[in-house]
Amino acid sequence: MDISRFLFQILPYLLEGIPVTMQLTLLSFALGLALGAVLAAARVFGSKPLSIISRSYIEFFRGTPLLVQIFFIYFGLPTVGIRLDAFTASVIAIGLNSAAYQAEILRSAIKGIPEEQYLAAESLGMTTVQTYRFIIFPQAIRVATPALVNEFVALIKYTSLASIIGVAELFRRTEYMVSYTFMPEIYLLAAAIYLAICLPTSQFSKMLETRYAIPGYKRALV
């Protein structure tokens, strides 16, 4: 491979896709977290119908391929007059999909807090709202953090699906370069770039866990 061509043409072209990949990831993760929190709340606190709606949503988005969801939103919605550009359609599709997973992460984290914590809070005269705000949520978010970061890392990779509807993110640019240069080893380069983004994110997760760990918790598990 011609080194200078690689360094000055191919690599910079791919790297320009990183901001797009990261924007896709951050925006769809944020959408997923916001909607996921609502869905989780509907399942934990909601009336029966609300809980069923939330559950159906989760089952639907977990049970159908993300690619189908992206196609549906990008190509299907225009038939009812909703026309979105490829980037927006990708953010919405990936965000809606991620919401289902994030809802389950949050719900199981809340459900994982033992009943005794509620009893203790109640016995001390706390209201239900106070109990969740001061006792349950602060513990649940610690439980949920590793799984949420895991979901974030998964999204970094899932955003490559946006290439199919033409978003010029990292993988779209890779494909373009491969077909332009006929050098399939560029796929390896793309893989290395994804890895270089994902690894520090996982490290960041470990740091968060350590930073916000409940003191003595590890010892208590032994």
């Binding site: 005794e116 009893l119 203790a120 109640e122 016995s123 001390l124 005269g125 106070q130 409940i214 003595g216």
Partner: protein, 254 residues
């Protein structure tokens, strides 16, 4: 002001279709220390939890300091301000330091400022000899220390009635001692206490009255000495004999 702090009449409660309490009548006078004894599954813990409505009774009436317990949030607030509850498994909040565990309820349900609450919390912790642990987290402490902190948390709200649900049962024998010491200390302060425990020595030395419960009903109650040494009912006697023969073995967790 009535002499009786707690009155329970015809209390029935259970889980699902299983009836656990089958008509309990119980009185606790102001300043009185009452120990509840009974085998596993007899309903002792359920009885205790019904009082501040942690378990919802099926029927019957509970009055604390003249106020009838009901699901009305305003009533529950007052009831819980008058009852401190100590759990078998301590149930401290693991994400908060000991002093925050004790102070937070004061801020939330007594409307104290953070500073005021922490000063109160510190003085209660100091009183129980836990002052140095104020900045530690619950899971950094031994079980005995955690339970003493839980007692401090329940005491800090200055309840008229302190409810203790087997406060030493989850602890290893060598850790039980320090909790029993703390119980003696609290008992001396004149607060009304209703304690489910198998600590017979404590019952004998500190309780005014002992109530023996079996299968959801009160089998026998009376002066602590009398019930422990000369029980009138055969069931009480059999239970006490079994309990005493178990001493020295590892304590039951229930």
């Amino acid at each position: 002001m009535s002499e009786e702090l707690l009155q329970i009449n015809g209390l029935r409660a259970g889980y699902g279709k299983v009836e656990v309490l089958r008509g309990i009548d119980l009185r606790v006078k102001r300043g009185e220390k009452v120990v509840i004894l009974g085998p596993s599954g007899s309903g002792k813990s359920t009885l205790l939890k019904c009082i501040p409505y942690l378990v919802r009774p099926w029927s019957g009436e509970i009055r604390i300091d003249g106020l009838t317990v009901s699901p009305d949030p305003a009533v529950l607030r007052r009831i819980r301000a008058n009852t401190g509850f100590v759990f078998q498994q301590y149930n401290l909040f693991p994400h908060m330091t000991i002093i925050r565990n004790v102070a937070l309820p004061l801020e939330l349900s007594k409307g104290m400022s953070r500073r005021e609450a922490e000063e109160t919390a510190k003085s209660v912790l100091d009183m129980l000899g836990l002052g140095e642990l104020a900045g530690k987290y619950p899971l950094e402490l031994s079980g005995g220390q955690q339970q003493r902190a839980a007692i401090a948390r329940a005491l800090a709200i200055d309840p008229k009635l302190l409810l203790l649900d087997e406060p030493t049962s989850a602890l290893d024998p060598e850790l039980r001692y320090e909790v029993v010491e703390t119980l003696y200390q609290v008992a001396k302060q004149g607060r009304s206490m209703l304690i489910v425990t198998h600590e017979l020595d404590f019952a004998e030395a500190a309780a005014d009255r002992v109530v023996f419960i079996d299968e959801g009903q009160i089998v026998e109650e009376g002066d602590a000495r009398q019930v422990l040494e000369r029980p009138r009912r055969e069931r009480t006697e059999r239970f006490l004999r079994r309990l005493r023969s178990r001493l020295g073995e590892s304590p039951s967790t229930n």
